[in-house]
């Protein structure tokens, strides 16, 4: 069981408020990913959940019981610390066993679980080393292992894969995903990796400066970000945001106009808008293609082409000085300084009002 409710949680360090009125419901067995800029309060939130820290105000419930004042040891959660926090005087094996010994698990079962976790995290060879003798990634895997061997009500994972190489990260991610499928344990997961967030999460919580900006399923966040912040934060490279003016606004569609003769009709409920007001048009770099003949198009000069292998990120500046990112499939041979034309479809754009809020979908 691991149904968690946060009500009006606040946390301040001295005068500095780092969490403001956090409200969040996490269903039993749900996989929730917390994302947000560095320093926005993700780790702090996790510490409050774990019981290591107490909120300055608000209530935390687990499975309907108020646990706000319950100590960490009694909440029955497991945590992977961003700083690892391995016991430096114990071998890897002892690090893994410690939590199990504390709940008087039989020796044989402990050994079994450790073997299993070690296999899964590829640390079997290091079981008898001390943390001081491990590389950064190895330590991180031990830290994950320490949580995994337990059978907690919920997992709290703070950037658990940040120091792993791509391959290991993918396989570990898969293991965590499999673990979740198998155990159906609630997981709360902090990450900076978009791919992890997108692939693992049942729901993603986007935070900024101690507040929750949006909560939703990964593709919903990607496809319909609620505001400019989420739009910019979810999706890499970040969405292009073009300043536009409302030209016409109706309940079914809105037409916006921008620099360089740009004029686009977007399907959205613009009934609350006044023509002539400012707005922002968002287009994801992946939704821009080279060539002409889309709902919108423009020419630009390439500043930089970043070849990633399967795709190439084009950094360009439009003729009226707007910086544009576009992701082009394959390896493009355009060079910096070349002219290039881009096109995009109106259906892939996102429109935000002057306050940065996404326009509601067209009325039906």
């Amino acid at each position: 069981m691991g149904q968690i409710t946060l009500s009006d949680i606040q946390r301040a360090y001295g005068n500095v408020k780092v969490l403001h009125d956090i409200n969040l419901d996490i269903a039993d067995g749900e996989f929730v990913v917390l994302v947000g800029p560095s320093g926005c309060g993700k780790s702090t939130l996790l510490r409050l959940l774990s019981g290591l820290d107490k909120p300055t105000a608000g209530r935390i419930e687990i499975d309907g019981k108020d646990v706000t004042q319950v100590s960490a040891a009694d909440r029955g959660l497991a945590m992977v610390f961003q700083s690892y926090a391995l016991y430096p005087h114990m071998s890897v094996r002892q690090n893994l066993a410690f939590g199990l010994e504390n709940i008087q698990m039989p020796k044989a079962e402990i050994a079994e679980r450790i073997t299993e976790a070690a296999r899964m995290l590829e640390i079997t060879d290091y079981l008898d080393r001390r943390p001081g003798q491990l590389s950064g990634g190895q330590k991180q895997r031990v830290a994950i292992g320490r949580a995994v061997v337990r059978n907690p009500t919920a997992f709290l994972l703070d950037e658990p894969l940040s120091n792993l190489d791509a391959e290991l990260r993918i396989s570990t991610r898969a293991e965590i995903s499999a673990l979740h499928d198998r155990l159906k344990t609630t997981m709360i997961y902090v990450t900076h990796d978009q791919v992890e967030a997108m692939t693992l999460a049942d729901r993603i919580v986007v935070m900024r400066a101690g507040r929750i900006e949006q909560v939703g399923r990964p593709l919903d966040l990607y496809n319909t970000p609620a505001n400019l912040f989420v739009a910019g934060f979810i999706g890499a490279p970040r969405m292009n945001l073009l300043p536009v003016k409302i030209a016409e606004a109706g309940p079914q569609s809105v037409r916006v106009e921008g620099a360089g003769g740009l004029s686009i009709m977007v399907a959205a409920d613009g009934s609350a808008l006044q023509p002539g007001t400012d707005a922002t048009l968002g287009i994801r770099p992946h939704d821009i293609r080279t060539g002409t003949g889309g709902d919108g198009s423009f020419t630009a000069t390439v500043d930089l082409m970043e070849a990633l292998g399967p795709e190439t990120v084009a950094h360009a500046t439009t003729d009226d000085g707007q910086k544009i990112l576009a992701v082009l499939n394959g390896q493009d041979t355009t060079k910096a300084g070349d002219g290039i034309s881009f096109a995009f479809d109106a259906g892939r754009t996102h429109l935000f009002d002057a306050e940065g809020q996404r326009l509601p979908p067209p009325r039906t």
């Binding site: 960490a72 700083s83 690892y84 926090a85 016991y87 005087h89 939590g99 504390n102």
Partner: protein
């Protein structure tokens, strides 16, 4: 030879002798002389006879005048090297001395007595260890009994000291509670008063709780050392709190945190305190002296210190017994000091 050269030229960082290397070795060598020298001299002195101890100027090695058996004399005679009137040096044995004139014989020609002014003769001396300084006290005293008492007092006191002090230090360094600073202050403040000053009040307390003339009366008053709490607490401050957090997430009780996380990580400080506690309890003299009145309960220090009289102190015995009682603590030190090694608390963190 090359090993020695390598040993001597080994440097930090590997390249070139910088001034710190030179300074280090100057300091260490000076340490040998200044710190160790007197101690070595003490050990050597403990093998000197009372007369040699009182001698000015002192010799480094214990010396005794050489003796020979000379035909015609029942007792061995002492050998002197004498500068003869003709300017030559000769080794003669002294038969007797009357005033400033010594009567001497040539050991090879024992019949002829030579009269020599005592200013002309210097004793022939060689190194001789007065082992009786050790043998006599050890035979006279119930050495084994005292040893047993001392070991009991030292071990019990040290265990209790380490345990109670580390517990208190844990609470004072890792919990925030009201009055924490007050308790800390109280503890440090009581470091102030020397035992000799509160001897009588302490005696009345010990007497009142019925511990007079019992080894526990020696042990208990010493174990709550403010020093230990203070020392451990300050060290524990350097242990990262994250490790405690991790243990709490691992469902560890506070006791387990103390026991399995804090204690091992504070090992260097515990080793220091253990060394101190052992040295102190082992060498405690004044307090056991006051509390213990029956010989069966004497600790080594009390038992072996009977050589300090009113008007005379038999230093030769005291030095010898100092050396004897020092040996176990030196061994303990050598054993425990290796725990004062690199703190590892940080290596579990990112």
């Amino acid at each position: 030879m090359s090993r020695v050269a390598e040993f001597l030229t080994r440097r930090r960082g590997g390249s070139g002798w910088d001034w710190t290397d030179i300074f280090t070795w100057v300091w260490l060598i000076a340490g040998i002389f200044v710190m160790f020298g007197p101690a070595v001299w003490l050990v050597l002195s403990s093998f000197k006879t009372p007369a040699a101890l009182a001698e000015f100027p002192p010799t480094v090695l214990p010396m005794a005048t050489e003796q020979v058996m000379v035909e015609g004399y029942d007792n061995p005679l002492e050998l002197y090297s004498v500068s003869m009137p003709d300017g030559s040096e000769q080794v003669l044995a002294q038969v007797r001395r009357v005033g400033t004139i010594a009567q001497m014989v040539d050991p090879d020609a024992p019949d002829e007595i030579v009269k020599v002014n005592i200013a002309e003769r210097t004793p022939q001396r060689r190194v001789a260890f007065a082992t009786e300084n050790y043998v006599v006290p050890l035979e006279q005293n119930d050495f084994l009994l005292y040893l047993r008492n001392s070991v009991f007092v030292t071990v019990m006191a040290t265990i209790i000291t380490l345990l109670t002090n580390s517990m208190a230090a844990f609470a004072l360094s890792k919990y925030r509670f009201r009055g924490r600073d007050g308790v800390m202050l109280l503890i440090v403040a009581t470091l102030m008063v020397p035992l000799s000053v509160i001897l009588v009040p302490l005696y009345s307390v010990v007497n009142a709780v019925g511990l007079f003339d019992s080894l526990w009366g020696v042990i208990l008053p010493t174990v709550a050392t403010p020093t230990g709490v203070f020392l451990l607490r300050q060290y524990m401050l350097t242990i990262p709190d994250e490790l405690l957090d991790a243990a709490r997430m691992d469902h560890a009780s506070e006791w387990q945190i103390y026991w399995r996380i804090i204690l091992p990580l504070a090992a260097p400080a515990l080793a220091v305190l253990a060394i101190f506690s052992i040295v102190w309890r082992w060498n405690d003299f004044l307090w056991p002296l006051v509390v213990l009145s029956r010989k069966e309960l004497y600790t080594l220090q009390v038992g072996l210190n009977t050589y300090a009289g009113e008007l005379n102190v038999q230093w030769h015995y005291i030095l010898a017994m100092t050396v004897v009682t020092m040996i176990p603590v030196v061994l303990v030190f050598v054993f425990l000091q290796r725990y004062i090694t690199a703190g590892i608390a940080g290596s579990g963190l990112k």
